[in-house]
């Protein structure tokens, strides 16, 4: 993995006029401060409601009023974050898009927490070494394919305990990365790193066993 993409921050004059107005009026000493904060909260609430409806399938057991309460909590927390981080706005996007990001992140995090509390991953989803049905060998499979799947199963078995748990849960059993992070007392970034390393190791082990997934693996 790399250290990330390094964007070039916009200079003061490159920040668009609307964004500059938002930044100015959200400052505590500005006469329009309270009005701007109320407007921002209203917008964050719209985004949170929309994002919750987009993720509704993950919260099937939650009633309408409870869902709206979650939208308010997300908008409140996003607002606090935005106001605390005003100085971090670099003008890489419109101010509104930057602010909406915090509402989306809040919803994402709260949905995962609800899902985890309601239905944490079971032991089978974390430890099963059975290949998913879509990959499991079938009677009519050619020998080459059956050998490749056997190599996959063997490579998974050689992962570290942590990598295996993360790979099995996310890649094989479709457990949400954020739900798994909560279950393991970790965070998305660290779990993703485990997943990345697991995937790379399985690829390498399969290639070493003569079952490269792609030509590049065979060369590498």
């Amino acid at each position: 993995m790399s250290v990330g993409d390094a964007p070039t921050p916009a200079t003061g004059s490159a920040v668009d006029l609307d964004s500059r107005q938002w930044l100015a009026q959200l400052r505590t000493k500005h006469p329009q401060h309270e009005h701007a904060v109320a407007m921002l909260h209203d917008m964050l609430l719209r985004v949170a409601r929309h994002e919750l409806s987009r993720r509704r399938a993950q919260l099937r057991w939650i009633s309408g009023p409870e869902l709206d309460d979650l939208a308010h909590q997300s908008a409140d927390d996003a607002l606090v974050n935005v106001l605390r981080r005003l100085d971090e706005f670099r003008g890489l996007s419109r101010f509104t898009t930057w602010a909406y990001k915090f509402a989306v992140f809040e919803v994402s995090s709260k949905v995962a927490r609800h899902a985890w509390r309601r239905q944490p991953p079971d032991a089978g989803e974390l430890a099963s070494d059975r290949l998913p049905d879509s990959l499991a060998p079938r009677p009519g499979d050619r020998l080459e394919q059956r050998e490749r799947l056997a190599a996959l199963a063997a490579a998974i078995g050689e992962l570290t305990a942590r990598q295996r748990k993360v790979f099995v849960a996310i890649a094989l059993n479709d457990v949400s990365i954020d739900v798994l992070a909560l279950e393991l007392g970790s965070n998305r970034n660290a779990i993703y790193k485990n997943l990345f390393d697991a995937r790379r190791n399985v690829r390498a082990k399969m290639a070493a066993a003569g079952h490269a997934v792609t030509e590049q693996d065979a060369i590498g």
Partner: protein, 77 residues
Amino acid sequence: MTDHRRLDELLRAQEGDAGCSASEDILDAYVELELAGKDPAHMFPGTAIHLQSCPGCRADHDGLLEAARRFGDLKLQ
């Protein structure tokens, strides 16, 4: 989907992946390039790779892209 393609996706681990934190940091800029009809992978290649592989960040990206598209024109009055 062929067995090979399914496996390739299952084991996707591409060099240059920016990771979650770095991608979250510039996600707003990334979606604005998309909304402008530009290719965000040109400016943010590591994030483009990451979004193909990380289901959590991809869901956040999709949500932000939709929010910016739907509510992006709201102005301070």
